[in-house]
């Protein structure tokens, strides 16, 4: 069965035909060619497919494209604005929050969810928030530092803009 869905992805509206059984992650990667969202475990454990849907982090391998009809989706490609890295992207760069980089898009999208709900998280808050995202390289310490960097940077930007 084919369905027509309307979604807004990274600010751009799309009207697409998808198969009912099409998973959101395949829609994003294969149909929209947004390959920054990765498929890791494919069993909703590893978090590398995390995207934001209406402001909430969701594992896109465990959701049908049809379920996203009418929603606003943000993927890793939608974070940088006018060539400027998002503070979280900058944090992962500055603090060496990645090695192979496979988990990074999902890690960053989950951290976006965290900082939107809790702009000044403690180290424990960060570790708790990232429980659904696996990294097999870094040992997580630099990932935590990257999120702390972003939290501080976003606060600084907010102060500067007042």
């Amino acid at each position: 069965m084919n369905l027509t869905i309307q979604v807004e992805v990274n600010g751009k509206k799309h009207k697409s035909t998808v198969e009912a059984r099409q998973l959101l992650v395949y829609y994003l990667r294969d149909q929209l060619r947004l390959t920054g969202t990765h498929i890791g475990c494919d069993t909703s454990s590893c978090g590398s497919c995390t995207v934001m849907i209406d402001g909430m982090a969701v594992k896109s391998c465990t959701m049908l494209a049809a379920q996203a009809d009418g929603c606003a989706i943000t993927t890793i490609e939608g974070l940088a604005k006018k060539g400027e890295l998002h503070p979280l992207q900058e944090g992962f760069h500055q603090e060496h929050g990645l090695q192979c980089g496979f988990c990074t898009p999902g890690m960053i999208m989950t951290a976006v969810d965290l900082l939107s709900k809790n702009p000044e998280p403690t180290e424990m808050d960060i570790r708790h928030a990232l429980e659904g995202n696996f990294c097999r390289c870094t040992g997580y310490h630099n990932i935590v530092r990257a999120v702390q960097f972003a939290s501080a940077k976003m606060k600084e930007m907010e102060v500067a803009s007042v």
Binding site: A20, R21, L23, T43, S44, M63, L64, Q67, E131, N133
Partner: protein, 280 residues
Amino acid sequence: MIPSEFDYIKAKSIDEAISLLKDGDAKLLAGGHSLIPAMKLRLNRPTKLIDISRIAEMKGIKQEDGELVIGAMTTHYEIMTNDLIKKHLPILSQAAELIGDVQVRNKGTLGGSLAHADPSADWPASMLVTDAVIVVAGAKGKRAIKAGDFFTGFFMTALEEGEIVTQIRIPLPSANTKSAYVKFMQPASRFAIVGCAVVVTGNGSIDDIKVAFTGVSESAFRDTAVENALKGKKADTETIKNAADQAAEGVSILSDHFAGEEYRKHLAKVYAKRALTEVA
């Protein structure tokens, strides 16, 4: 992994969902965080999915008379952060925070979890100790099922064919009530290997106590031996230890590659003690 083919229909109301569900091979889709993984593994191959996650009358948390009423499609995250829940039934926000991870809590629903009745799911233990009533609707009308009668076995519930869990009603506890939910989790799936929920009322000594486990047996259960060992007593260290030692006796214990029968039973006693100590 791709599920086998199915038709997808978004239901706009409970009545519409009930009438769509008359097709015997149809399945309800809530948050999808149990059903979609099962469909990807082709353990489940419904030919029709009825998406009920956006039915407005099945969402949200409100206070009605002496009860909190939680719509079945309310997410774990919404329960975890809701002020009415935090104020009146903090055990539910405590349990919600221990479910899966952020992404799962953002999408998974209370009603979906209850209907799925995974023996290792977190919610059933809290439902048993808070005297929750599960309201279901079907072609023959509505009925209310006590949590104690709802979980009937391994992935089994009292839901009949064509029925939908629509809301969960929980009486507001009295002022001198304390509660706790503690859990030993499978580190990858984060499901409960042992989850223990306790609700206790009393001043100084224990007037009433309810203790329930999830993850331990084929379905969540009240542990009356532990409860009876505490009723009318003062909750000192010795009494708690003696009561916790009686946990999970006389029930069949689950066993898997992560936690064998003996270890799981041991954990049940350890976590009963922790939960009881938290409310003492």
